[in-house]
């Protein structure tokens, strides 16, 4: 009786010590998440290019003309040397330039891009590049936001309106 009780007490003590010894020091932990990432201002024009089939934001040095049309002209010019070296491409045809961006017919803030291209023949990536670049540039000068839709009107008719898929 006493022996069994002593044995049980020893067992409990041993377990406790083992636990303590195992819990000592700095143990690896799971991932702990905090607040949203650090954010800050960007200097330059936002242009969306493609890399490995994805839309990627590219900053071009500050342009004197912050209008959406100027941004679209930069987009039409395609990736620069260093960007191409890193694997950036663009689906947007060079014929996009000259282009005009006007307020859309629908809800206030919506935009329409007019250019002398075949709007229907644009690939989905190319359309998204145009839409996102337009919205990003418009945000600098007007009250465009992530919900703003953009319609592309070309020589063969209109495409869209549609919002930028990158939020």
């Amino acid at each position: 009786m006493t022996g069994r009780r002593t044995g049980r007490a020893l067992l409990a003590g041993g377990l406790l010590l083992t636990l303590l010894a195992a819990g000592c020091g700095v143990r690896p932990s799971a991932v702990i998440t905090g607040r949203p990432p650090i954010s800050g201002p960007a200097q330059g024009t936002w242009v969306y290019l493609l890399a490995q089939g994805e839309l990627v934001l590219v900053l071009r040095p500050v342009n004197t003309d912050p209008s959406p049309a100027a941004a679209l002209s930069l987009l039409a010019a395609g990736p620069q040397e260093n960007e191409r070296a890193q694997g950036f491409t663009s689906d947007v045809p060079a014929g996009l330039d000259p282009v005009t961006v006007t307020a859309g017919a629908g809800r206030s803030g919506d935009l329409t891009v007019r250019a002398n291209i075949a709007a229907q023949a644009l690939s989905a990536h190319a359309a998204d590049q145009i839409i996102c670049t337009t919205v990003a540039a418009a945000a600098q000068v007007s009250a465009a936001n992530t919900a703003t839709t953009v319609a592309i009107v070309g020589s063969d008719g209109a495409r869209g309106p549609r919002a930028c898929p990158i939020r």
Binding site: G13, V26, P37, G40, P41, G44, F88, A139
Partner: protein
């Protein structure tokens, strides 16, 4: 086996149990407190280190804004990584397939789950073990503000790998201190347990010793009552019990000695009238032959009974001497064979007794008492047993043994334990014994009176293998007179 039992008794003893209980209590409390504070302190230390590291990283990162160029060049990334690395930490900067690392040879410190969280758009950190050392990984993306207040990920991921060895050291120090505290408290608990065990065990030991002394017959044993706890209660009860016992035993002893003294006094008082009566009966005996018929028989009867009464009174006086402890041995160097032969011859039994008495056995004993014993045993054999009666003498350097046997019916097993009782009547139907009924009791006392050191004379009754009673008298060969010791 016995040693194991003793070890077992010691282990389950009060002292060990108290020590164990105290130690367990002390250790449990200390472990609970120490581990509680240890874990708390560890969490605080780690929390502070993590918060400080995250804060420092975000502070440094706000200085890289505004960002003027995306995608960055490898040089940009290297520069950023260098700026973020210092003595305690190094940075890893990633942009798509590009990677830059400031300092440290560790090739890939980042965990996939951390990268996933960072890519999902949160500041995240994780403690890992890098090359056997604890380290903190902090990761964040660099996001770009938009005018509407939202932000866009730029695709640049910054990770800071911070060494946690200093924190580890202070936590280890905490642990060492906790172990030390635990050890000290264990020692303290054991000391306290021993102290309190002593406090409890001393009265118990005293009680045990007193009880043993009481059991050995020292009725005056008393305990000192200390304090007013349960143990003091036990001591008080013990004292009361011992007191009552002593009183009652004293009373019994007084009654018994009163009775004995009364017998002795009566016997002494009877001696003088008996002496006169004996003188008269002697005359009567002589005249009995001349007295006619009934008168002669009456005279002989009175004479016989007077002799019996004299014998009884003498026996009673002898017994009372044993009882009062005044019996003394008159020691002499005796040739035992010759003494026994003389006893038998004087009683006129020489032809009826078979003797086996090797000559030359000399012992130091009281010849008168030896005579009394042998005469009593042989007389009894004739009276209660049947012939032939044999007397055998044996001797070794320490003992002299005399065996008196007869071939009668032997002793009834029921009678055997009472043979040496005073006035015990083996035959209940016989109301009038021929002897005084004290003969064997006196013989027994006489045998016991002979003693030498640890050896003490004895008289034992039993039955022989061929039937018949056998009385065995054993006397030490060297007897020292120890006075009237009972």
């Amino acid at each position: 086996m016995t040693r194991w039992r003793r070890v077992g008794a010691w282990v389950s003893g009060l002292r060990v149990r108290l020590v164990l209980a105290f130690a367990l209590l002390g250790v449990t409390t200390t472990v609970a407190v120490a581990s509680g504070s240890y874990f708390q302190a560890r969490n605080v230390i780690l929390q502070q280190a993590q918060d400080a590291a995250v804060m420092s990283l975000t502070d440094q990162l706000t200085k890289v804004y505004p960002i003027a160029q995306l995608p960055p060049t490898q040089d940009d990334l290297e520069l950023l990584a260098q700026r973020l690395s210092d003595r305690e930490s190094f940075a890893v900067v990633l942009y798509r397939d590009m990677r830059a690392q400031g300092g440290s040879e560790i090739t890939d410190p980042l965990t996939p789950e951390l990268r996933q969280e960072v890519r999902d758009g949160r500041i995240a950190w994780q403690r890992v073990s890098l090359a056997g050392q604890p380290a903190l990984l902090i990761g964040t993306q660099l996001a770009l503000d938009r005018p509407d207040g939202t932000s866009r990920p730029s695709g640049v991921e910054v990770y800071s790998v911070r060494n946690l060895v200093p924190e580890q050291q202070s936590i280890d120090q905490l642990a060492t201190r906790a172990w030390l505290t635990g050890g000290l408290s264990l020692v303290l608990a054991v000391l306290l347990a021993l102290l309190s065990a002593r406090g409890v065990l001393r009265p118990v030991r005293d009680l045990s010793r007193a009880a043993r002394r009481l059991g050995e017959g020292d009725l005056s044993t008393r305990l000192t009552v200390r304090g007013a706890d349960e143990l003091a209660d036990v001591a008080r009860t013990f004292n009361d019990t011992a007191g009552t016992l002593e009183r009652q035993v004293g009373e019994l002893r007084r009654l018994e000695s009163d009775a004995r003294r009364f017998v002795a006094d009566v016997s002494h008082e009877l001696r003088t009238p008996l002496a006169a009566m004996t003188a008269v009966t002697d005359v009567l005996d002589e005249e009995a032959e001349h007295l006619p018929g009934d008168a002669g028989r009456a005279a002989r009867l009175v004479s016989q009974e007077t002799q019996n009464l004299t014998q009884l009174v003498n026996d009673l006086i002898e017994i009372s001497r044993f009882d009062s402890g005044t019996a003394r041995l008159a020691l002499d160097d005796v040739d035992v064979a010759a003494a026994v032969t003389a006893t038998v011859r004087i009683r006129g039994w020489l032809d009826r007794v078979r003797t086996e008495l090797p000559p030359g056995v000399v012992a130091r004993l009281d010849p008168r008492r030896l005579d009394v014993i042998v005469a009593n045993l042989v007389g009894n054999a004739f009276r209660h047993g049947a012939e032939p009666v044999s007397v055998r003498l044996r001797a070794d350097p320490d003992w002299v043994t005399i065996e008196v046997a007869d071939r009668g019916p032997g002793l009834d097993p029921e009678v055997l334990p009472h043979v040496f009782d005073r006035l015990y009547k083996a035959d209940t139907a016989r109301t009038r014994s021929e002897g005084s009924g004290l003969g064997l009791a006196i013989s027994w006392e006489n045998a016991r009176l002979h003693r030498h050191g640890e050896r003490r004379g004895s008289l034992v009754a039993g039955n022989g293998t061929h039937g018949g009673a056998v009385f065995t008298l054993r006397l030490p060969r060297e007897t020292a007179d120890t006075g009237g010791a009972p």
